[in-house]
Each structure stands twice: as structure tokens, then as C-alpha cells.
């Protein structure tokens, strides 16, 4: 029982970060039908910038929370600038080009950013300075740390803020209108290019925060961290229905939970010695021991497995509906 609760807590933490990253994918896809493969790299740059700032300030004796906040405050504008630049320089010139062109470009931007980051921050795994006092609370047999609580709370706040922006403000209405029909939005006076740029910038800002949270949580950052994190967040967006904002939130949290629960149980479930008849077959190999087929390092596979299964039954994702007309 406590494994379950514990993995629930861990999954919720990772999942809420996935959700915030997934929003960046889904917003851009929703508005220009582009899978921005470079979004994972934006998140990585957010983590890297924060790492540099936190590392520089850590010995200064400032309160740890202030240091992390300053790190985040530096990461956000840098990522916004990266997001804006990639839209302006790489994607906008390709507007109206066949869909494959921006897609390949996105892969190119992703590789470019990764290598730029390598030049700036080296190939090494950078250890995030652990400056925050991590208090652990015990809750019905599971433990939750103050960092986990903070991560979940920040992510909920970001998602709530984004939902307000998208569903309650003029810019958000213009974003949704542009997503549905950019030509008519333009005819009504919406500067479509600006709205698209704003979408990239907002997604990048969310990514920056997610990068800092991720780095703080796992305690490490590396120039390659954007690929797997990006892939998972993208999967989360697809799981929820790409282009759908609540879907990205749901998909992210679900993916985190599935991954954590999978990691928590896959060892026990794939312990061949736990199954009587197999144990009999295996004889002495099982005498008082275990024969674990899949360890928790298979958790990534687990997440993608769930994605595939969901897509087989609901190709448009959990909350996605096929938008029929783009008249």
C-alpha cells in the first residue's frame, strides 16, 4: 500500500512538470500545427541558466529561496527570447511551406540549441547545488518532501494561470481564434504573427520554470536533458490530445503517474520467482531469491507503452476531438 501512495506522490510531482512542458508543445501545435521538437531544449536552457545563476549566488549567503527565485527570474526571459527567436527566424519564414519543412527545421533547431548549450555548459552532468532545506513529511505511509510540494503547487499555479490567460483574456481569445482560422482572424484585425509569437513566448516561459523545477527535483542538469524530457512531454500532449490545453495537463499528470507506478511495480510484477509455477520450473534459481525480468529502469518504456495503447483506442488522444472544419 505504501509503495502505491509513494509512487503516487512521485508520479504526481514528475507528472505536473511534464504537464507544464506539454503545454508548450500543445499550444504551438494548436495554433500552427507544428510539432516544435526544440521545445525540450528550451526547457533544458531554462534549467542551465538557473543552474549558472544559482551556482553563482549560492555561496553569497542569500536565503536559498531567494537564490532559486532569482535563478528562475533569469531563466524565464532567456527562454522567452529563445522561443521568440526560433519562431521569428526559423519557423515564420516557412509559414505556408509544406508541413515537412518546418518539422525538419524544428529538429534542426533542437540540435542547434543542444550543441550551443554544450559549448556554453560543457558535456558534463552538472549537479544542481542542493541549497534548499528539504524537509520530509510523512503522510499515510508515504513521504513527501517540501520540494515536491513546491513543485506540484507551482505547476498547478502555472496551469491555472495559463487557463485564465487562454480562456479569459483578449489575447487568449485571439489565440484560439487564430488556431481555428488564421485567415479570418487576420481579417478581423488580429495580427496573426504577433499572436503566434506570443504563443511561443508563453510556452517558453512555462518551459523555463519547468526546467528549473526539473533540475531542482532531480538535482542534475545536462545539455541532453531536453530530449527525453521533451519526448515524454510531447507524448503527454499526444496522450491528452495534441492541441488541447486541458488535454496536455491531463496527459502530463497521467504519464507521470503511469511511469511512477510502473517503475514501482514492474520489478515485483516481472519477478519470475513470484509466480509459483514458473518458480517451480526455474528450480534452485529461485530458492529464496528473485529473478527480476524488468527493473525500474524500464519506466520510460512503460510510459510509451501506455501512450501506444491509448492511441490505438483513441487516435486523437484522451480529450482530443477531430477538428473537422477549418473553413
Amino acid at each position: 500500500m505504501d509503495t502505491f501512495l509513494q509512487q503516487l506522490v512521485n508520479g504526481l510531482t514528475a507528472g505536473s512538470v511534464y504537464a507544464v512542458v506539454a503545454l508548450g508543445y500543445t499550444m504551438v501545435y494548436g495554433i500552427i500545427q507544428l510539432i516544435n521538437f526544440a521545445h525540450g531544449e528550451v526547457v533544458m536552457i531554462g534549467a542551465m541558466v538557473a543552474f549558472t545563476v544559482i551556482n553563482a549566488l549560492a555561496p553569497g549567503g542569500l536565503p536559498p529561496l531567494v537564490v532559486v527565485l532569482v535563478g528562475t527570474a533569469c531563466a524565464i526571459p532567456v527562454c522567452m527570447l529563445v522561443g521568440y527567436s526560433m519562431e521569428r527566424l526559423a519557423y515564420r519564414p516557412l509559414r505556408g511551406a509544406p508541413r515537412l519543412a518546418p518539422l525538419i527545421t524544428a529538429i534542426g533547431v533542437s540540435i542547434l540549441l543542444q550543441h550551443l548549450a554544450m559549448l556554453v555548459w560543457s558535456r558534463n552532468v552538472l549537479a544542481f547545488p542542493q541549497i534548499i532545506q528539504n524537509t520530509t513529511y510523512t503522510l499515510a505511509g508515504a513521504s513527501i518532501t517540501s520540494v515536491q510540494i513546491a513543485i506540484i503547487a507551482v505547476c498547478i499555479a502555472l496551469m491555472g494561470g495559463l487557463a485564465l490567460l487562454v480562456y479569459r483574456t483578449q489575447l487568449g481569445t485571439a489565440m484560439r481564434a487564430t488556431a481555428q482560422n488564421p485567415h479570418v482572424a487576420g481579417l478581423m484585425g488580429v495580427d496573426v504573427n504577433r499572436v503566434i509569437a506570443a504563443t511561443f513566448v508563453i510556452g517558453a516561459a512555462l518551459g523555463a520554470v519547468a526546467g528549473v523545477l526539473y533540475g531542482t527535483y532531480y538535482g542534475v542538469a545536462q545539455y541532453t536533458m531536453g530530449s527525453i524530457l521533451g519526448l515524454k512531454a510531447f507524448s503527454a500532449a499526444v496522450l491528452g490530445g495534441i492541441g488541447n490545453i486541458p488535454g496536455a495537463m491531463l496527459g502530463g499528470v497521467l504519464l507521470g503517474l503511469v511511469e511512477a507506478l510502473g517503475a514501482g511495480y514492474i520489478g515485483d510484477l516481472s519477478d519470475l520467482c513470484a509466480y509459483g509455477w514458473i518458480a517451480d520450473l526455474m528450480g534452485e534459481q529461485c530458492d529464496g531469491g528473485h529473478f527480476i525480468l524488468f527493473g525500474s529502469n524500464y519506466q520510460d518504456v512503460f510510459a510509451f507503452l501506455v501512450l501506444i495503447v491509448v492511441l490505438v483506442f483513441r487516435p486523437s488522444g484522451l480529450l482530443g476531438e477531430r477538428v473537422g472544419d477549418r473553413a
Partner: protein
């Protein structure tokens, strides 16, 4: 002269859809542009609002050359189009559709539109895709009016509507014109359009072949034969 086009050309790849037409609309006028399917009416309107580039020709709105204006700059200047097929945002609510109309002005009060279209007020929280065809057309017009236009381009507002609704939409157009908005109306329904308009242009395979007062066009034998479905007497 509120709007003036001279030698306007639109090409799609190798196709010349609009072949150097001259067209002018004065302040306060209601002018119609009629013609068969594929004549180039929609292409003409799209070129005027810069939705598609014109290959050649001059385009002036209130004396200003707008041939290089970006699309989104025109509503701010008072030039707006209700596109063919309405182009409402189906997944936005009625209210949100109207808000997009006011976007160029940085917001606006939808109350006057609700007063003219009580149907829209009742359905303001409803997603626009669930409105009937006639209601969608009303919404498209109301949304354009939110930009407080001086010149309203209407592309086949009667398309796909039952006769009663067509009459209603034409009544609305007449009312908008009465309030001082200049209108350039594209219509398949030539009789209704000519009865409503002061002047008209007839377009055939990308060229303007006839122009005159609505009365003259209504009595022109070629127009009667080709567009009003009457044999020549």
C-alpha cells in the same frame, strides 16, 4: 472616393482570376458586384482586403494606397469583410466571436449588436458552431460591425439560406447601409442585390463587363437573360 481599384489583377499560379478590373465605391453608397460562379468576385474582395496579393493595379482606400497593407491593419482603418461561407469561429462562443471583432479596437461593447440581433444575445454563451446557418450569418455580420466599419464588404451573405432568412439578411444589410456604412455587396442573387443597391458591376470570367445604376442593370436585356433567369422579351 472611399475605395478605388484600377487595373486590379489576381493570379493563382498561372490562372488569371481577375483581369485588371476598375471599381470604385463612394462614401455612403451600396454597390453590388454580381456574376456567375467562378467569375472572380470573391477573388476581387479578397484582394481588396489583402487576404491575397494582387498581381498588378492600384488600390486606394480613403486616398491611401493599401496595396501593401497587412491584412490585419485594415479593420483598424474601417475596412472589413464578411467572408464567403461566414468564417465564424465555430469553437468560440458567440460572445467570443464578437470580442474578436472588437480586437482591433482593443475591445468594444457588444450591446449594440445584441440590440440589432436579439437572437445572438440569447445565444451569447453558446458555441458558434451550433448556431443555425442564418444565425451564423448574423453573427458574421455582427462580428464585422464590431470593428465599426466605414466600408463593409459582404461576400454572398445569402448563401445557403432559406428564402425567409435571405429576406431577413437583406433587410439587415439595408439597415446597416441606412446607418451610414458604405457597402460593397457580392451576390449570386442578382435580383435582390440590384433591388437593394444603388449601383452595380457585372463580372464575367475575371473582367467587369457591365456597370451602371441598379435600375439600368435590372432592365438590361443581357443581365435579365444571364442573371435574372428571364428570356429576352
Amino acid at each position: 472616393m472611399l475605395l478605388e481599384a484600377r487595373g486590379l489583377e489576381v493570379h493563382y499560379g498561372g490562372i488569371r482570376a481577375v483581369k485588371g478590373i476598375d471599381l470604385a465605391v463612394d462614401e455612403g453608397e451600396l454597390v453590388c458586384l454580381i456574376g456567375a460562379n467562378g467569375a472572380g468576385k470573391t477573388s476581387t474582395l479578397k484582394a481588396i482586403c489583402r487576404l491575397i496579393p494582387s498581381r498588378a493595379g492600384m488600390l486606394r482606400y480613403r486616398g491611401e494606397d493599401i496595396a501593401t497593407s497587412p491584412v490585419h491593419a485594415l479593420p483598424r482603418k474601417g475596412l472589413v469583410m464578411v467572408p464567403e461561407g461566414r468564417g465564424i469561429f465555430r469553437q468560440l462562443t458567440v460572445e467570443e466571436n464578437l470580442a474578436i471583432g472588437a480586437y482591433a479596437l482593443g475591445g468594444g461593447d457588444p450591446e449594440p449588436q445584441y440590440a440589432s440581433f436579439p437572437r445572438l444575445r440569447e445565444r451569447r454563451k453558446q458555441v458558434a458552431g451550433t448556431l443555425s446557418g442564418g444565425e451564423q450569418q448574423m453573427l458574421a455580420i455582427a462580428r464585422a460591425l464590431m470593428t465599426r466599419p466605414k466600408l463593409l464588404l459582404l461576400d454572398e451573405p445569402s448563401m445557403g439560406l432559406a428564402p425567409l432568412m435571405v429576406a431577413k439578411i437583406f433587410e439587415i444589410v439595408r439597415e446597416i447601409a441606412r446607418q451610414g456604412v458604405t457597402i460593397l455587396l457580392v451576390e449570386q442573387n442578382a435580383r435582390l442585390a440590384l433591388e437593394l443597391a444603388r449601383r452595380g458591376y457585372v463580372m464575367e470570367s475575371g473582367a467587369i463587363t457591365l456597370t451602371g445604376t441598379a435600375g439600368d442593370l435590372l432592365h438590361d436585356s443581357k443581365v435579365r437573360e444571364a442573371y435574372l433567369g428571364e428570356g429576352v422579351a
